[in-house]
Amino acid sequence: MIGSCSQKFPYYLLLDGGGGELLRNVHDRAKKMRILIVDDEKTIRRFLKATLVSHGYDVFEAANGAEALKYAVSSHPDVIILDLGLPDMDGVDITRQIRERSKTPIIILSVREDESDKIAALDAGADDYLTKPFHAGEMLARIRAVMRRLLPQSEKSLFTVGKLSIDLAQHSVEVNGHPVHLTPTEYALLKVLVLNAGKIMTHGQILKEIWDKTEDVEEALHLLRVTVSNLRNKIEPDPDRPAYILTEPCVGYRLCTDM
């Protein structure tokens, strides 16, 4: 099943260590990342493979959960695209088992009815999801986004999108060059989103990061909604049509990375 992977480019585990050599290698082989596709539908694997190969990725395929777990280790993928509806194993379990061993980004493929599975997979450590059917461009953007997040933190202390810029080192937020005053909770929320820019943060993950409490989830969720709403009023050009902080229905929020 393992695709014709070119051995010219040695594999580097992105999160191991750091420093110049790693970064150089990341850049060297930026066009030859390894992607593992897990889906039981052959036609979907075929189309994903064609798209990804044409964009310079090395592609490996797995048709079920057992193969997925095997190749997740043996083929050293940089990104795993995992379908939730596999015949032999529960997608959430696979996500959890992969997470126990590595931090390889996982992008979930799901259908619209799978909402609770999707949230469970995200909470289990998946990085993002795509709802079938999806646009090839959307998939490539998600892959780039999860890869970008693997870069060392220092590079991301200044975050800019549209007219919004956030300097995490300076604790400052500016819209259109004008400083915006945020409450500590609003700033904490924005910081969580910035640190995971482009990635979906589930309600549960945000609550854990900001309030670090699990009791009275309903009250905490209400507080979260109010905070998001206030934050939008302060930073969005049109708070009724948010462009930066996007709502992922029933799942959580995502900070937009490219306008």
Binding site: D240, R241, L246
Partner: protein, 501 residues
């Protein structure tokens, strides 16, 4: 009814008859010197007739015998002896006795007829009341209840109605202290199978606790009526039994009618479902095929003549195929929503939501279609949270806004207004488009109905019916109105306090 027969065997009438004879004799004694004794016979005849009419045949016979004796003993000389001085009195005695006997026979017959008529009238009234009650019972359950109440009330007994079930029969409706057990059930089943009464008070299985009658109509046996008398009643007399049978046959007709109604109602549901399924299949096959035709055509021509088609045409073909795949996806999404809506409110996952967020997320989902479209939003900054199924409610706004985009010119604005009312919130989506013919304003929410069918606008005719289903599941309302100037406004009204399902 239950006590009226008891007084017939009473001995009181006999004493009354004796008293009447005594009074007549006493009165006769006072005037026996003044008039011919034979004239007094008239008075004896009078009391014989009275006795016959009031108390029936046997007291009347006794009265005529006593009259002859008393007349002879007290009023015919020589007095205080049964000896008779004049032989003509013998004829008077025979005449009095014969007339007394005939009159008593005739009178008591008349009396019996009058009583029968009374009984029939009572029975007719009972049957009439039952048939009236049954006519007012609109379901099988109500019919069974009516039968139980009527029969139980008339006979002061406990009633059960058994109906055919998968295996044999089972009690469909019964009074709490009706003896329901396996043995009784077996007897009821026997009655059902044989169409003959059985149980208590009959020769068939008399040891059972209750009496069972088949609910017979010309079409067959529709059930079994069980009656159980709590006190130690010896049995039913023929009059009671006739009434019970009459009630049972009326009940049988009602049960049959209720069953037929139920069957036809089910048939109607099945027919309606079939009609919908056919419509659904027709619509689906048409709507699925239309984009598929384009996709297949575009892709096959690319596959076949890839090199001979110029780059621009290739791109055009691919774009068409891609757009059509989007339509297909929308159709499948609509069908899924329809299923969810039809599954009922149970499938809703309501959570407190901010309406502004729902509308914002809907607009975000439509951002490719909206492009630079002018969307004017009027949403108050402070709005109470509402219990909603976020994704389902998003489908509503996506559908409404998508319709507004499709049915209006690209350079016209779309207005979205949210207004809190008392206990409710009103959301309006207003376009400046073509409007909807007045007669279609209600029907557009029907399944597969499309008011304006311009060729270039694709749709399934499902969107608005899905919206309606979702809004109604949330306890709200949706309606459409044409604007005084141009275009249409869709209004959604949602309760602020939604009842927990």
């Amino acid at each position: 009814m239950k006590k009226s027969k008891a007084k017939q065997n009473n001995i009181v009438p006999y004493f009354m008859s004796i008293a009447l004879v005594a009074i007549t004799t006493f009165m006769g004694g006072l005037i026996r010197e003044a008039i011919e004794p034979t004239n007094i016979v008239i008075f004896y005849l009078l009391i014989v007739v009275m006795t016959a009419v009031w108390w029936g045949r046997y007291p009347a016979i006794m009265t005529s015998l006593l009259s002859v004796l008393a007349f002879d003993y007290f009023l015919v000389p020589p007095y205080l002896t049964f000896a008779v001085s004049d032989v003509q009195y013998v004829f008077t005695f025979i005449g009095l006795l014969a007339v007394g006997l005939v009159v008593s026979a005739l009178a008591s017959k008349t009396r019996q007829q009058a009583m029968d008529a009374l009984g029939r009238e009572e029975q007719t009234a009972i049957l009439y009341r039952l048939s009236k009650d049954l006519a007012a019972s609109d379901s099988l359950e109500a019919v069974l209840h009516t039968i139980r109440m009527n029969v139980g009330g008339i006979f002061d007994c406990r009633v059960a109605v058994f109906l055919p079930a998968d295996h044999g029969i089972k009690p469909g409706s019964f009074d709490p202290d009706f003896p329901i057990d396996e043995h009784e059930n077996t007897i009821a089943a026997w009655v059902f199978g044989n169409g003959k009464p059985a149980g208590w008070g009959t020769d068939t299985l008399p040891a059972s606790k209750a009496h069972y009658l088949p609910l017979n109509t010309s079409q067959g046996v529709f059930g079994v009526l069980g009656v159980f008398f709590k006190d130690d009643k010896a049995g039913l007399d023929p009059g009671e039994y006739n009434l019970l049978s009459a009630l049972a046959s009326q009940a049988a007709v009602a049960v049959q009618r209720a069953k037929l109604t139920e069957i036809s109602r089910q048939m109607e549901i099945i027919r309606e479902r079939e009609r919908l399924q056919t419509a659904l299949l027709n619509s689906i096959s048409h709507d699925l095929r239309t984009p598929l035709v384009t996709i297949m055509g575009a892709l096959s021509s690319l596959l076949q003549d890839f090199s001979s088609i110029d780059a621009e045409t290739r791109k055009e073909l691919l774009e068409t195929a891609y757009d059509e795949s989007g339509h297909l996806n929308q159709l499948v999404g609509n069908l899924l929503d329809m299923t969810r809506v039809e599954a009922g409110a149970l499938k809703m996952k309501t959570k407190p939501c901010e309406l502004r967020d729902v509308i914002g997320a809907s607009l975000h989902l439509l951002k490719d279609k909206l492009e630079k479209r002018d969307i004017q939003m009027h949403i108050p900054r402070v709005l109470p949270e509402i219990l909603l199924d976020f994704t389902l409610m998003m489908r509503v706004f996506v559908n409404l806004i998508d319709n507004a985009i499709k049915y209006s010119a690209p350079d016209t604005p779309i207005e979205i207004t949210v207004k809190p009312l008392e206990n409710k919130v009103k959301i309006e989506v207003k376009d400046n488009g073509f409007g909807i013919p007045e007669e279609d304003l209600v029907r557009i929410f029907d399944k597969f109905y499309r008011a304006v069918k311009p060729r270039q606008i694709t749709g399934t005719g499902l969107g608005l019916s899905i919206c309606k289903g979702i809004i109604e599941a949330h306890g709200g309302q949706i309606f459409a109105k044409n604007n005084p100037d141009k275009g249409t406004t869709f209004t959604v009204i949602l309760p602020l306090e939604m009842k927990e399902a």
